[in-house]
């Protein structure tokens, strides 16, 4: 018998219930509930989806189906320092892919993943409107321009102590 005790804190469960209740526990509001829940928790782990399903009286499979359909929803927590690499046209033709490969190699994660220590998460985006600086990398709010694969190590070094 698979008795799985999941480790959400009671106050976290209460918070999810509160969000569901603010939408009258209406299954039709699933997407809005998930938006609000992700806003609160930063991501939507399996445990959270199970609570949402129980509160809205729908199957967990259905909730998971919606979470995996919309790219906005994520089941992986963002790192302390979220890295976004622009792969828009301008950045791409100026070598964004090589820069991305170097981040992947050093951090040993794929796009959309977070390092096991939770420090960095790696994502791509399309154009930040700074094409003159291509290729562009964002870490948190900070913008790095004209990044070369060789420079990736130095950029990451800035975050070593943080």
């Amino acid at each position: 018998m698979s008795h799985i005790k999941l480790e959400l804190k009671p106050e976290q469960v209460a918070k999810i219930k509160e969000i569901c209740k603010s939408f009258n526990n209406d299954p039709g509001e699933l997407i809005n509930v998930l938006h609000k829940t992700q806003e609160t928790f930063g991501y939507l782990p399996a445990e959270v989806q199970e609570v949402v399903a129980a509160e809205l009286n729908i199957s967990v499979a259905k909730v998971y189906g919606v979470v995996t359909f919309y790219s906005f929803f994520t089941m992986i927590p963002k790192g302390k320092h979220p890295i976004s690499i622009c792969t828009g046209t301008a950045c791409y033709v100026r070598g964004a892919e090589k820069v991305l490969d170097e981040f992947k190699r050093i951090l040993d994660v794929k796009v959309g993943e977070t390092t096991p220590d939770g420090k960095f998460s790696l994502n791509c985006l399309r154009c930040v409107g700074a094409c003159g600086l291509a290729p562009v990398v964002l870490i948190g709010e900070k913008v790095y321009g004209r990044v070369s694969p060789d420079g990736v190590k130095d950029i990451l070094k800035e975050y070593e102590e943080q």
Binding site: H3, K9, P10, E50, V60, A61
Partner: protein
């Protein structure tokens, strides 16, 4: 009031249809059969699967730029539709080529080969090559093996018929479409194995899957090995619903009864004893009927601790369903084991003693219309020191394979009789195969045991039919007994919720997981949602009952003998030990309350 109608032209023919009718159905009215793949119409259940996902059914609509999926496009006044222009046929081919480009090409060894809707469509549309394969990789997923069902989702074409069955009809909620684009697939939550989901193994998803994405776990090889092993005595038991459908696999008309031929075939295959689950169904009635009367009498005497209504417990899909969803009511169902398991328990005790053999020397095989039975016979509580009461359960479809593999000319077989003693049954045992049958069989026995009078009439037609939820009151010589019946798990959920909330007041309820009861089971020849086939099988079941010399379980002479020689009386200590069980909560503690 007259219904608003719409006139349109399809392939130069005029047709008038009610407002809201789809082009596909309007064409059907004209005898034009537009090819469909993902579409599924479960007319009698009021359920239609039309995600318009495959686009095979596209047609040309005059004045419209794009082709329209006919399964999901409603007719409009004056519409002019063409169903087989060059453009339409080219589009259908392209659609098929794209689907096939991401589909494995192992048709030769695929379990669905020959009965695959995708394969048939490729034949129909004359697909001879699949261009573009060299440019693209195929999406690949892990195969998922559960005790009853195999998910090979590389073969999923996203028709979502299984999802409609699992969610809309059965309200089980094990499956959902997940991910998007190339990676889109139907899967349980978090893409875990079916075994970790609320799946009941009812097998209705397998019954409607157009491809080899969902199939049953095949035990025929193990059965052949057991028969070939000289140290084993191999017994087979056949469920009531099998005889009413097996003939379809050999091209016979739905509703053809093949009881005698089936027995002859099983003997030719080499089973040492050919027995009948119907015998155990009679035994179930003795135990369950006695339990009903016991609870009823105590209730009438003012015992507040007694739980009513009693719920039938012969259907393993239903048992799984309440173990997942009605965990607060685990003491409400009858504790009686299912006929399959009662048979196994008696075969490996009473009958083994008669043969002078140890239980390990016996192999019990069951032929079932059901996939959940495969899981049921593997449950720990149905094993004795690790040795299961029933070793292997095979479906009606697997038996048909076995008969073909053994090169038996089924149609020409003579009728043969089951072996004694575990092959003798009554009409009450037979009707277990149709919705309402178990409770009718129980009423036939309970009435006579309670009133100590013979039944004025044996047929309780008020308990029969195809309505999803039915109820009737039976007069037990002045005592009105309220009976509820549900088939299909969605209907069962509704009925049970009414019981839980106190809205419904029943003494006994029969539930069958599959629409129609076992005759519509997940292990039966595929009926593609055609309820005329289910009805024909149902008629066959009642025909078999009507033709039986004995039609009440308590009058089965071999059941009487079994109690005299071995069990004592119903619900005796020995009967309890061998024929009753208990239930477990399968609900996950999803969060801290």
């Amino acid at each position: 009031m007259t219904m608003e109608t719409i006139k349109l032209t399809i392939d130069n023919k005029q047709v008038e249809v009610p407002k809201g009718t789809t082009i596909y159905k309007a064409a059907k009215k004209l005898g034009i059969d537009i090819p469909v793949l993902c579409y599924m119409d479960l007319h009698d259940l009021g359920v239609e699967n039309k995600p318009a996902g495959c686009r095979v059914c596209v047609v040309e609509v005059e004045g419209r730029r794009n082709l329209a999926p006919s399964c999901a496009t409603e007719c409009a006044e004056g519409m002019v539709v063409k169903t087989h222009t060059t453009r339409v046929i080219n589009a259908r081919r392209t659609v098929m080529e794209l689907i096939l480009s991401d589909h494995p090409k192992d048709c030769l060894t695929c379990p669905k080969s020959g009965r695959c809707d995708l394969q048939n469509m490729a034949v129909k549309l004359g697909i001879r090559e699949i261009p573009g394969q060299e440019y693209a990789e195929m999406s690949t997923y892990k195969k998922d093996f559960s005790p009853s069902i195999i998910r090979d989702v590389d073969k999923c074409i996203m028709c979502r018929r299984c999802e409609t069955m699992c969610n809309t009809v059965q309200t089980v909620g094990a499956l959902s479409a997940v991910n998007r684009g190339f990676m889109a697939v139907v899967a349980p939550a978090f893409e875990q194995d079916l075994e970790k989901s609320p799946c009941t193994y009812c097998g209705q998803c397998v019954a409607v899957c157009p491809t080899g994405a969902l199939t049953e776990v095949d035990h025929t090889t193990k059965v052949i090995r057991a028969i070939a092993d000289p140290t084993k005595t191999v017994l087979v038991q056949t469920a009531p619903a099998v005889r009413a459908a097996l003939g379809e696999e050999f091209g016979m008309k739905p509703g053809t009864l093949v009881t005698g031929k089936m027995v002859a075939a099983l003997r030719q295959i080499g089973f040492d004893y050919v027995f009948d689950t119907d015998f155990a169904a009679d035994l179930t009635i003795m135990e369950e009927g006695t339990e009903l009367l016991d609870r009823l009498t105590r209730f009438l005497n003012g015992d507040k601790s007694v739980k009513l209504p009693i719920l039938t417990s012969c259907c393993p899909g239903w048992v799984n369903f309440f173990e997942h969803n009605f965990t607060d009511m685990l003491d409400v169902p009858s504790s009686a084991k299912s006929p399959q398991q009662m048979f196994g328990a008696i075969a490996k005790s009473y009958f083994a003693d008669k043969l002078g053999k140890k239980r390990e020397e016996l192999v019990v095989v069951s032929v079932m219309p059901c996939l959940a039975k495969k899981y049921e016979c593997q449950r720990d509580e149905f094993k004795h020191d690790g040795n299961p009461d029933v070793d292997f359960s095979i479906s009606t479809r697997e038996l048909a394979h076995l008969i073909k593999e053994f090169n038996i000319n089924f149609e020409d077989l003579p009728d043969e009789d089951f072996d004694r003693p575990l092959g003798e049954s009554t009409g009450a045992g037979v009707i277990f195969g149709a919705t309402g049958g178990v409770i009718e069989a129980a009423v036939r026995t309970a009435y006579e045991l309670y009133t100590v009078k013979p039944l004025p009439k044996i047929d309780f037609t008020e308990l029969r039919g195809m309505e999803g939820i039915r109820s009737a009151t039976i007069d037990f010589n002045g005592l009105p007994i309220n009976i509820g019946i549900a088939h299909g798990l969605g209907n069962a959920r509704k009925l049970l919720e009414d019981v839980r909330s106190g809205k419904a007041n029943y003494h006994a309820i029969e539930v069958m997981a599959c629409p129609g009861g076992c005759i519509g089971g997940g292990g039966q020849p595929l009926h593609h949602g055609n309820s005329a086939i289910i009805k024909a099988r149902m008629e066959a079941i009642y025909r078999e009952d009507a033709g039986k010399p004995i039609r009440k379980s308590h009058e089965n002479p071999y059941i009487v003998k079994l109690y005299e020689e071995f069990l004592g009386k119903p619900m005796s200590e020995k009967a309890h030990h061998l024929l009753h069980t208990h239930y477990f909560s399968k609900k996950k503690d999803i969060y801290i309350k």
